[in-house]
């Protein structure tokens, strides 16, 4: 089977425009990665009626893991979906991170999967911290109140010396959240909002000089072969750490609620492009 890269934005754009279902006949021969599954699941949450809903339903038929991701949004917080080295977890409340709750166990299994598949312990620990921070961002910022998050799912997929994790919520999105801090009132679009939080450590907290979550992410992945994707509203930024001069690449994305991010990291091979590097979930 020829595995072709999966274009998440392209597919959603076609549905957004009331597009043809033709591409769906080819879905099963495409390489859909974890971030794609979660973004499609977010779209399914948003497009729950009308023609888009019917199209979205077909994703589930063609791609079982997308169906599992959609189901994960409806699952109780303590429920996890495990498929060997792939796991999904519906983000619940802050209490899920205490003691031996599912949130803690999810992180423990992620770190263990990394260590068992060739990731050095310090790097595995750093990635564990980064995933925890990204998940905590959902708790802190996605809902109308802190620690009352919007519907959200986190997941990881770990193979030998290769891993990806993704966190996707259906909440307020980065722009709306950032505008609650008057310091960033001049920002007018989602791409600039993403750039502000990622490049300038902007935070929605009025009394805080800067945010700490994303620096944790970039510190964990410093000088690694990694590709990071951040999507919110109609904005999208990607960061290719493998380039000699890593920079953020701006792009537009079909509008969708919430904030979705993914990290792909390979220990050895230098990824040529993001989509070529994404490993499929079958």
């Amino acid at each position: 089977m020829v595995v072709r890269p999966f274009d998440i934005d392209g597919l959603r754009a076609r549905v957004w425009a009331g597009g043809s279902p033709a591409p769906f006949s080819r879905l099963s021969s495409m390489a859909i990665s974890l971030d794609g599954c979660l973004e499609l699941a977010c779209a399914a949450r948003q497009w729950s009626t009308g023609e888009p809903a019917e199209l979205v339903a077909r994703w589930g038929e063609e791609l079982p893991f997308v169906r599992r991701a959609i189901e994960a949004f409806h699952a109780p917080p303590e429920r996890t979906h495990e498929l060997e080295s792939v796991e999904l977890w519906r983000i619940g409340s802050a209490n899920d991170w205490l003691d031996e709750t599912e949130g803690q166990q999810f992180l423990v299994r992620f770190a263990r999967a990394l260590r068992h598949r060739g990731f050095p312990v310090p790097f595995a620990n750093g990635l564990g911290k980064a995933l925890a921070e990204m998940t905590d961002n959902v708790l802190q910022h996605s809902g109308s109140e802190s620690r009352k998050p919007a519907l959200a799912v986190a997941g990881f997929h770990v193979e030998q010396e290769w891993m990806t994790f993704a966190v996707a919520d259906t909440g307020r999105g980065v722009l709306e959240r950032l505008l609650s801090n008057p310091r960033w009132a001049n920002i007018t679009n989602s791409t600039d909002a993403l750039a502000a939080i990622l490049e300038r450590r902007a935070t929605s907290r009025v009394n805080e000089p800067e945010g700490h979550g994303f620096p944790e992410l970039f510190r964990a992945l410093a000088k690694r072969n990694s590709v990071l994707r951040f999507r919110s509203g109609d904005g999208c930024l990607t960061f290719n750490g493998a380039l000699s001069t890593p920079t953020f690449e701006r792009a537009s994305s079909p509008p969708m609620n919430g904030f979705q991010l993914s990290v792909i990291c390979a220990l050895k091979e230098v990824p040529k492009s993001r989509s070529a590097d994404a490993q499929p979930i079958t």
């Binding site: 802050a94 209490n95 991170w97 003691d99 031996e100 921070e133 905590d136 000089p209 700490h212 944790e216």
Partner: protein
């Protein structure tokens, strides 16, 4: 003095602001009832025994919040008023937790004392983490050498630094109090200051 175990269950990794906020609320609930406005406040040892690693967001919410409490808003919220009376000290840090703490303190221009030896009564010895103005650092050393509550006037009389008068000492001590490195109590018409630890050295 209170000693709070930060590892309450089996979690050995404390990540994210949300857990930090939960732990902060636990500390306020436990210590709050004994706090009296106008008093010197309480030293609270955050004991990290069994905690392998933390993130900056966690430390910011569970520790640094107490350092900053009540200093920003003119009319602080009730929780911040209570927090302003808590003098946090950390203990039993792993190298990884200590490195994370130092990095955060450097980035936020704050200080914190790590207790090396403490009892139910107080912190006997500790090390200072985080950047500090040289004059304030020298004052910490003076207080550590003196080892007892002292006023600005007494420091002038002691002649520890002939260039500094009582007003100068008073300014330095007030700044150290704002940084939560010293406690103060009013006796008659003067403030008496003492370090949060009896003996404090640079870490």
């Amino acid at each position: 003095m209170f000693v709070i175990q930060m590892k309450s269950g089996k979690e050995s990794h404390l990540y994210g602001a949300s857990i930090g906020e939960l732990h902060r609320e636990k500390i306020l609930k436990q210590v709050g009832p004994v706090l009296e406005p106008g008093e010197a406040g309480e030293i609270v040892v955050l004991d990290f025994t069994g905690v392998e690693s933390v993130t900056a967001s966690y430390l910011k919410a569970a520790l640094l919040w107490f350092v900053d409490a009540g200093t920003k808003a003119e009319d602080p919220l009730p929780a911040e008023r209570l927090g302003s009376l808590i003098f946090p000290v950390v203990a039993h840090l792993t190298d990884e937790v200590r490195a994370e703490l130092r990095e955060l303190l450097q980035a936020r221009d704050r200080c914190c004392i790590e207790a090396r030896d403490f009892s139910a009564i107080g912190v006997i010895s500790g090390i200072l983490h985080g950047p500090l103005d040289p004059a304030l650092e020298a004052t910490v050393k003076v207080l550590s050498d003196y080892g007892a509550p002292v006023s600005a006037g007494e420091l002038e009389k002691l002649g520890k630094d002939s260039r500094v008068r009582a007003t100068g000492w008073n300014n330095r001590l007030a700044q150290l109090h704002r940084l939560k490195l010293v406690q103060r109590r009013q006796e008659y018409r003067q403030w008496m200051y003492r370090l949060v630890g009896l003996e404090v050295h640079r870490g």
